[in-house]
């Protein structure tokens, strides 16, 4: 899985974008894999990335933005160092998801689609992750946690710097 580049002024958005385009070849049908690569490396798809794609692949920026904003997994705004995706679908809800969801928000003091002031956490709700039998479920970055109860949340969050 693509490793996220550490946040900091040294991120070279243009270089990451160019590498992504080269990796998948500059064809229209490869747009989504290219955006996915950038999203995973940087944590979101910055404006400069879209400008670069537009220039190299000759696609209007409006079209790029329309694709990037359509898919839930693409972020067009900066996210925290760690992204928590909590499953808000029916089976997890029925298995006690509501209490866990509230507990996470309480712990982090942020609501859905918000990033914490110290830019460490972004919290979003996601649709079904496909592990319903061990619900409630959440993902922190690429790690998946199941059979959640509210009291497990502090320990799980403490694992991440």
């Amino acid at each position: 899985m693509t490793e996220k580049v550490k946040q900091g002024p040294e991120i070279n958005v243009i270089r990451i974008t160019d590498n992504a385009i080269d990796q998948f070849h500059a064809k229209r049908e490869e747009l989504i894999p290219i955006l996915m690569e950038i999203n995973q490396k940087i944590g979101y798809i910055p404006r400069e990335a879209m400008k670069e794609i537009s220039s190299r692949m000759r696609i209007p920026q409006s079209q790029l933005y329309s694709v990037a904003s359509f898919y839930h997994m693409f972020f067009t705004k900066k996210t925290g160092s760690h992204v928590i995706k909590f499953c808000e679908s029916a089976p997890c809800h029925v298995a006690g998801g509501r209490e866990v969801w509230e507990s996470i928000q309480e712990q982090l003091r942020i609501g859905p689609d918000e990033t914490s002031p110290d830019e460490k956490w972004t919290l979003i709700s996601t649709s079904c992750l496909g592990v319903c039998a061990v619900g409630p479920v959440m993902m922190v970055d690429d790690d998946i946690y199941g059979n959640l109860t509210p009291d497990q949340i502090p320990d799980i969050l403490a694992k991440y710097e």
Partner: protein, 593 residues
């Protein structure tokens, strides 16, 4: 811990108990003691070994001997032979000798594993394991002996219908794509399993990816396609990884690529990831996504069979549909058609989730009833609470109440009942579920996932969600139900794609079967299931309260007051109905009204 050289597992399932398994267990223990073996052989009782109709039954480890139809007077001889002389007692052994792993894995005989046959049995990252289990033998047979038209004919005779939800006859789709004109053709696998509660496809892709690769290759041969895509949702990173490994290994062995099995047939596969859009499970939206565009559906005709990926004829099938193909061609269409009902042949995987004891994946032949699935295979409701409803078909399906429990499951019967088969997600709900809340929940999901292209879906579902939210918040109005019904009609008729057309289903069917619950929310401002926060009150029962102050200490908003050893009181104006007080109370003093 004492070292036991042998263990005897005695089935104590109700059926075996009824046949006298306790007496058998007692007789075993007595006889072992008599022979001085009770420190060497341990006797344990266990739930369901699997052949209770042949009970009482026992399993002896480490030998794995499975004895059936035991009677008390069998025991002395059995102990002597098995444990003193180390010999099995042939006459009492189960015949044919069954694989205990299979018995342990299949909870009841009601399950038949076709699509899931290798899941949990093989290492999915090792193609040799798949080949050892007859993998790619169907492909070899088809390429060397069967003409493409005959392959389609075989699929027709099997009765295989698309497993993605619509149940369209698979042979017809293949035939239409085969006959369509185009300089090249594509085969696509829809692995964008977005239905909440459905994870059958994920399990197959993670547990037996080659069955899908082989199925797609056979389809490509029958249709005349040279390129394929597996469109897998990005929420399944492990499945994506496992399938990519499988494709690489198949390519290495020449099972994908040019000149497969030394013939002119060429076919290669690529994995494409989704990016988090439920609507991309709809086939035209999926195609748009493969092409690098917004996943917006388009009107059909033209159907993908005529104009699909990049405008070329494309066959799109679900993961499970492809996974069935190799076995149908290896074992013959009659074998497949011998299972199921008249119009729904074969087996179906279901993902049981929600308030059921054995959540997980099952595969059963069509025709089995909902009751059998939920109670026999699923083990019944968690904590033995009363059953309220079962949702089939995902967010565009319906919740069926108790009087439908004896409905045999197949495509036609579920549609008649007002629900749909969908991809196979089944969410079981107990009496602590509010049906209005559930309808609102699904509508929220649909609203979030609506692509926005057409007004009836984009705006209509939003209005419906507003009404449902008001009702759950205690602000339901007279006329709301009628409004929901008329909106549902319009949205169903005028939406562009299946997502829009199916969006009102949960509301329609809950109104049908649980109308009373809606009315109580609107007119009485009550939630019978005690779920909707705005309609419930937490109160302290003075009879049980001992004044331990635990609730007051834990209340996040300081809504509880009271002196030590005095009855405490909750202020309903401050209370946020979080339920923490009820959780921490050791005296059952907090009640929800």
């Amino acid at each position: 811990m004492a070292y036991f050289r042998s263990h005897v597992l005695v089935c104590n399932d109700p059926e075996c108990l009824g046949k006298g398994s306790m007496e058998i267990m007692a007789a075993l223990e007595a006889e072992l003691k008599k022979q001085g073996l009770n420190n060497e052989v341990e006797v344990l009782d266990t739930p369901r070994i699997g052949s209770c109709e042949n009970g009482p039954e026992i399993l002896v480890y480490p030998e794995g001997h499975h004895y059936l139809h035991l009677q008390k007077n069998d025991i002395p001889y059995l102990v002597e032979e098995q444990f003193l002389k180390g010999r099995a007692v042939e006459e009492l052994l189960a015949k044919p000798k069954t694989d205990a792993a299979q018995e342990l894995r299949e909870p009841t005989e009601k399950e038949v594993r076709v699509v899931l046959r290798n899941c949990g049995e093989i290492n999915p990252e090792n193609i040799e394991d798949y080949i050892a289990a007859d993998g790619y033998a169907a492909l070899a047979k088809v390429i060397s002996e069967t003409k493409p038209d005959q392959v389609i004919e075989n699929i027709k005779n099997s009765g295989l219908r698309g497993r993605g939800g619509a149940g369209f006859p698979t042979w017809l789709k293949w035939s239409l794509t085969r006959k369509a004109e185009g300089s090249k053709k594509f085969v696509v696998c829809n692995a964008d399993e977005g239905d909440p509660g459905a994870f059958m496809n994920r399990s197959v892709l993670e547990g037996d990816p080659h069955s899908v690769v082989e199925g797609m290759t056979i389809a490509a041969y029958a249709i005349g396609a040279s390129q394929g895509y597996i469109y897998c949702r990005a929420e399944y990173p492990i499945a994506v990884r496992t399938v990519n490994i499988a494709i690489d290994q198949a390519r290495e062995l020449g099972l994908l690529g040019k000149h497969i099995f030394g013939t002119d047939f060429t076919f290669d596969l690529e994995v494409r990831q989704g990016a988090g859009a439920f609507v991309c499970g709809e086939e035209t939206a999926l195609i748009a996504s493969i092409e690098g565009k917004r996943g917006e559906p388009r009107p059909r005709p033209p159907f993908p069979a005529a104009e699909g990926v990049f405008g070329y004829p494309t066959n799109i099938n679900n993961v499970e549909t492809y996974a069935n193909v190799p076995q149908i061609l290896l074992k013959g269409p009659e074998w497949f058609a011998s299972m199921g009902t008249e119009k729904s042949k074969g087996t179906k995987t279901f993902a049981l989730a929600g308030d059921v004891k054995n959540t997980g994946l099952i595969e059963v032949p069509f025709g089995i009833t909902l009751r059998e699935i939920i109670y026999d295979v699923g083990g019944g409701i968690k904590n033995d609470r009363p059953f309220k409803a079962v949702q089939t078909g995902g967010p565009m399906g319906g919740c069926l109440p108790e009087n439908y429990l004896d409905l045999p499951v197949d495509y036609e019967k579920l549609t008649e009942a007002g629900s749909i088969m969908g991809s196979g997600g089944m969410v079981v709900m107990d009496d602590e579920t509010c049906m209005v809340d559930i309808a609102r929940f699904f509508m929220e999901f649909i609203q979030d996932e609506s692509c926005g292209k057409c007004v009836p879906c984009r705006v209509g579902t939003r209005r419906m969600l507003e009404i449902l939210t008001r009702i759950c918040d205690g602000e339901g109005r007279d006329g709301d139900i009628e409004l929901l019904e008329s909106l549902s009609d319009e949205i169903r008729e005028d939406s562009l794609c299946g997502l829009g057309k199916g969006a009102p289903n949960p509301v329609v069917i809950t109104l049908n079967h649980f109308r009373h619950e809606y009315e109580v929310h609107i007119y009485n401002k009550e939630c019978p299931a005690k779920v909707c926060r705005a309609l419930i009150n937490y109160e302290i029962n003075p009879a049980n309260c001992v004044g331990c102050t635990l609730c007051a200490k834990n209340c996040p908003v300081d809504a509880i007051s009271g002196e030590r050893k005095q009855t405490h009181v909750i202020d309903p104006d401050i209370c946020i109905r979080c339920g923490i007080c009820k959780q921490v109370c050791n005296f059952d003093a907090v009640v929800v009204k």
